[in-house]
Symmetry: C2
Subunit: 340 residues, 2 copies
DNA sequence: ATGAAAGCGCTAACAA
DNA sequence: TTGTTAGCGCTTTCAT
């Protein structure tokens, strides 16, 4: 690979002139002729600035890490796209990482920030990883912004408006005339699950509806969790006529379980979920969902990190605009006669 | 962040001794006492080797890039896990990248390899990106291994045994007694689609079955493509009694479309797909599928790159072991009476 | 307007 | 066994 020295030799100028021209130094006073010779030489040699050299000198990598617990979630895609778009517009590159049992958060942070691989990072903890344990990990050389999570004493987070999302979902069922509305939620330790629970309870309370014992399950966000939740709910008496599922993947599982148990959706049970993705369009019946703004969250998260890096601004963000949006498909309907 | 110099000062030794100890230099003859003092000092200062410094000196990053067109495919997860496991075992870090319209392959390669960010990379092209255009991009400073793709004159690729996978799927339908078997495939330009087509045709020919005009659609691997394919197939006369779908996402869409068009699966139409994922368990009916070995492919891809980097070995791999595996669920059955 | 030179953190060849 | 030193590619201050 060609270095600055190679380009300088070819253009017949000094290394520093080449550096000034190729890195668009603003205060560089370079004659047009020299500039042209340099640019030409660089192109001929297909010069590319060496990442390590630049990073070593400037103590900056122009890289932002995005660390997620599970990358194969249709929702992560939107998030990543938003983050990448925002990063690219500011001249940064995204480095996608994964955190799991084998590479715990502390290890990933040490590797990315401790070794100087990134200038900052966006971190989403896996459900069940207590934010409590990561306290001092957040006070590092580079800013860490938490996604859908807060940590006492740590400023720098971005979250969706989960409360509103769950409230919209619950209200939709209430408006259809349901009164026995259950909630299938994520683990109790999950930050988003707690907020979605608040949205659900707020809407129920505002409508003067009770939440009977057992109407809230908190088993997790995956398809098998949704299946298990439905089995549990249908043993209750009276059984719910509608259910708010806090996550689209769990809803897909719940719907499949309903088929198997011969519970007609939406005739006997209405199902709505928080989160939308292509899978929701391809269930049967197609899932009514509340679309959450993952793309916007991705952009906001990177903006939050960059504002910290470049302007020293500390901030907690909640994505209010655009707001969560109800997408009505076919898994919700009025409740069965008997209960009205 | 602490540097080698800091550690050296604290331990009262020279920088090079510290370097030797902390990077486990094999031929280093260091007294136990010194070694202990150094290790202690490093721990107290929470020393981490600076990535840029090390990379600049050694011209190695110990990073492998994994660049995929779309990371939110349940199948990519397995692939990534395999790649990461293999990389970690060899002391390498994975850098996940994405290639799409905004950051075309050439741009991504230039950035990762041209700027020296990775020591090698695994690249999967998006369907529809002609491999032809990437010729000289592959002759770079670092090895590029293609996933599910080959390029004339380029050695270094890893592929699944698509032919066998599609053959197994087709044979399953044949064994059930089907004779009018259609195939819903990916785009004609797709490498995997071509190979799966071969598997399908081989099985059909071996069984002495014809492939009537129109029985092969090649619209793509996404859910809407599967829907469109089904609509097209059902206008044919005679219509197929079974269909091999080349991808699980397309199969999910096809199944939803079948519901909507009131085509009973598997009573009137059997559906089997190549690829398995959690979504296949949660359709209705649950999808019979041929599981492909994505995890193994991920491991093999990284091994291929590392063998190239560390031993100079050039190789094209096809994952034969473990072989594709039939997972029978409920979307396949014997054909309807009339056709037997 | 251009060049010389120092130094970022690290490794390794060489010296002691 | 341990230390000194050069240099990887780059940016930037200081000279000219």
């Amino acid at each position: 690979m060609a270095t600055l020295g190679d380009v300088a030799a070819r253009a017949g100028v000094s290394i520093s002139s080449v550096s000034r021209v190729l890195s668009n130094h603003p205060a560089a006073r370079i004659s047009e002729a020299t500039r042209r010779r340099i640019v030409e030489a660089a192109e001929e040699l297909r010069y590319r600035p060496n990442f390590a050299g630049r990073a070593l000198k400037s103590a900056r990598t122009q890289v932002i890490g995005l660390v997620l617990p599970d990358l194969t979630n249709a929702l992560s895609t939107d998030l990543m796209h938003g983050a990448e778009d925002e990063a690219r517009e500011h001249g940064y590159t995204m480095l996608l990482g994964r955190s799991d049992a084998l590479s715990p958060v502390s290890e990933v942070i040490a590797r990315l920030i401790g070794e100087g691989r990134v200038d900052g990072m966006v971190l989403q903890l896996a459900d069940g990883v207590p934010a409590a344990g990561i306290g001092d990990l957040l006070d590092t050389a580079a800013p860490v912004v938490l996604l859908n999570e807060t940590h006492p004493g740590h400023v720098g987070s971005v979250a969706l408006d989960d409360v509103t999302g769950a409230r919209i979902a619950t209200q939709h069922l209430i408006e259809l005339g349901h009164e026995r509305i259950a909630m299938v939620n994520g683990l109790p330790s999950s930050f988003t699950a707690q907020r979605r629970r608040t949205g659900y309870r707020t809407a129920m309370k505002a409508a003067g509806l009770r939440v009977p014992r057992g109407y809230e399950t908190r088993l997790g966000y995956f398809a098998p969790d949704g299946r298990a939740a439905l089995r549990r709910l249908m043993t209750l008496s009276p059984a719910p006529t509608a259910v708010v599922v806090a996550n689209v993947n769990a809803a897909v599982g719940l719907l499949a379980e309903a088929r198997q148990a011969r519970i007609a959706v939406p005739r006997r049970l209405s199902v709505i979920c928080v989160h939308d993705s292509w899978t929701a369009e391809n269930t049967w019946p197609p899932l009514t969902a509340v679309q959450m703004q993952f793309y916007a969250m991705g952009r906001a998260a990177v903006r939050n990190v960059l504002d910290r890096i470049e302007n020293g601004v500390l901030r907690d963000d909640v994505i209010l605009d655009p707001p969560p949006q109800l997408i009505v498909r076919n898994s919700t309907a009025r409740p069965p006669r008997a209960t009205r």
